[in-house]
Assembly symmetry: C2
Homo-oligomer: 387 residues x 2
Amino acid sequence: MTISTPGVTLGVVGGGQLGRMLAEAAAPLGVDLVVTDPTEDPPAGPVASDALVGDFDEFSTIRAVAERADYLTFEIELTDPDALEQVAEETGVPVHPKPDTLRLIQDKLVQKRRLGDAGVPVPAFRQVDDEDDLLAAGEELGYPLMLKAREGGYDGRGNYPVESPDDVTDALDAIQGPAMAEEMIDFERELAVMGCLGADERDTFPVTETIHREEILRETVSPPRADEDVRERARSIALDVLDAMEGRGVYGIELFETSDGEILLNEIAPRPHNSGHWTIEGCHTSQFEQHVRAVTGRPLGTTERRGPTVSANVLGDVPDRQRATLSGEDAVFETPRAHLHWYGKREVYRLRKMGHVTLVGDGETMDELLADVRALRERLTFQSRSQ
Amino acid sequence: MTISTPGVTLGVVGGGQLGRMLAEAAAPLGVDLVVTDPTEDPPAGPVASDALVGDFDEFSTIRAVAERADYLTFEIELTDPDALEQVAEETGVPVHPKPDTLRLIQDKLVQKRRLGDAGVPVPAFRQVDDEDDLLAAGEELGYPLMLKAREGGYDGRGNYPVESPDDVTDALDAIQGPAMAEEMIDFERELAVMGCLGADERDTFPVTETIHREEILRETVSPPRADEDVRERARSIALDVLDAMEGRGVYGIELFETSDGEILLNEIAPRPHNSGHWTIEGCHTSQFEQHVRAVTGRPLGTTERRGPTVSANVLGDVPDRQRATLSGEDAVFETPRAHLHWYGKREVYRLRKMGHVTLVGDGETMDELLADVRALRERLTFQSRSQ
């Protein structure tokens, strides 16, 4: 290949924080981004060459992006695989990961079935189309269980815990549509692996511990506080997952380490993932650079960890949607080896992902490093100081 | 302070590679860039919020940038300190570094005088306005000596070596204008220190060895292959230089280590500098992030080195100005811990700075690491493969 200017343009469906961090990573490689997002001035806007306005699944906008791009990818699963496929066919612009893989992942039931069939350990699950199915699932999987919308959920949206047969009606009302029931996992900890598929190579970033509350990622810890054997098995399962994926790019693979030491697949995201943000400072190649390399047909970079690294999400801590003004951030600027990543969102609401803080270690234990990044994150608030 | 979106906008006079790398570093901090550059589609364009077209010293463009900015800085010395000063006064937008410091640095004679007076060791020099002055300089400093244009030179332009009194006429013809003569330094190696001035703090990045050919920087080596004592003295002199500077920001401070172990100031650049590009991967805070922090009034980041790091400039290797197409870059992508930085220039000509390659060490000696990055750089060419 070669590099020139104007050179390779990467079209991205979605212009949120993932698009923004993709653009930050793409520029040094001579790759420009054109994104499409439903909102004007999306997070990726200031660092992308251009941001078109259009829904994630709108054929005409996806096509308009492709017409300006050499490669097409997406940073959100809510895009339409049919539209991606048709645009790729009509324009000849390759799309990665493959629309078929996106389809597979979009339907959580299909995802679990296919990966289970491929030998990947998954929690026990059952298709749920009506109350009878859910009651049968309760018999089979026991209570509590997790009812999940088959499509469209993220950050805990679309998940409903079912404690007993009494919850069945409420649960189905909440989910509204095709669903699946999954055994509730008694986990020791959650792990995540960023997998990478290149043109003819596959790799994984180092296994990472993820900590959720209210089903939203709060912190990552890498290396995880888990045995070497657990990490090895997690990596091996991630490689098996990659074998079931089609198309170049990075994949966020979320896992449970159960209390009896089993590793089970939780979910897959066919894109850069919150659990891999620590790689920006923590690895020689970030997940964003890796995705740009992979999708544009470049060789993958090393996934070697540079050093122990933790991250903490900066989430909205105000009850109502309002203009976002973060204060306390000088605490981050004043801390050596702490890095602030602001996502460029104009408005904040409760638990909205507004940014993250990464802290690179310098001899601390992982417990200490996690406590340090949490303490830093606690200094940050969107609440008015006078409140 | 706080962070919001839209938030702090940094206006930058100049939209070249330094502006581009400033924009890459500014985005995670929630800082947008608006640049001004004489060319349409300058290197910083794709990652800046906006790029205005105008000469570096054009009052109206500088004013237009300031009107959209909260802070004003420059990434090229060719801007006009009077214009900066007037714009700052009229708009109330602070400019850093201070126009007075830019004036001081723009005139190499004034720079050397002021710093010499401040106790910074400088090479012997003499003002040269005519042939008599230059001949007198030859008597005083010996031959060969270096004749330097007092203003406007960079990357060796504006420097003329004078071997004997026979060269005097040619040298003055070449320089055309106010000049200074400087003793030719017999140096063991060249060193550079990126200094940083914050609101009420000063610091330096680790001392770096710089290797020039044809007066153009080719490689950097950090840590330098010099004694600890030499590094300590270089850092100490850099701190003295900073004391003579006014205004926040990073400063590139170029030094000679003479063959008898003396450290002498060569030149200062009041901006991020080629000798500091290695800090992007080599330090926890890059010189670009540091400059954004300093100019926008944030605390400085740690200047700690993460690991041994070398860089090699990718220079134009074609005789004539032409469309730039770099090949061989997959060698960089395939090398672990190697990082390509493409500057986004459309055209290449001989010795034009088109990008750089950084290589982070993994146990090699600095000699080996330097050889490795040179070998990688040798794989890169703008020459057509069929030539």
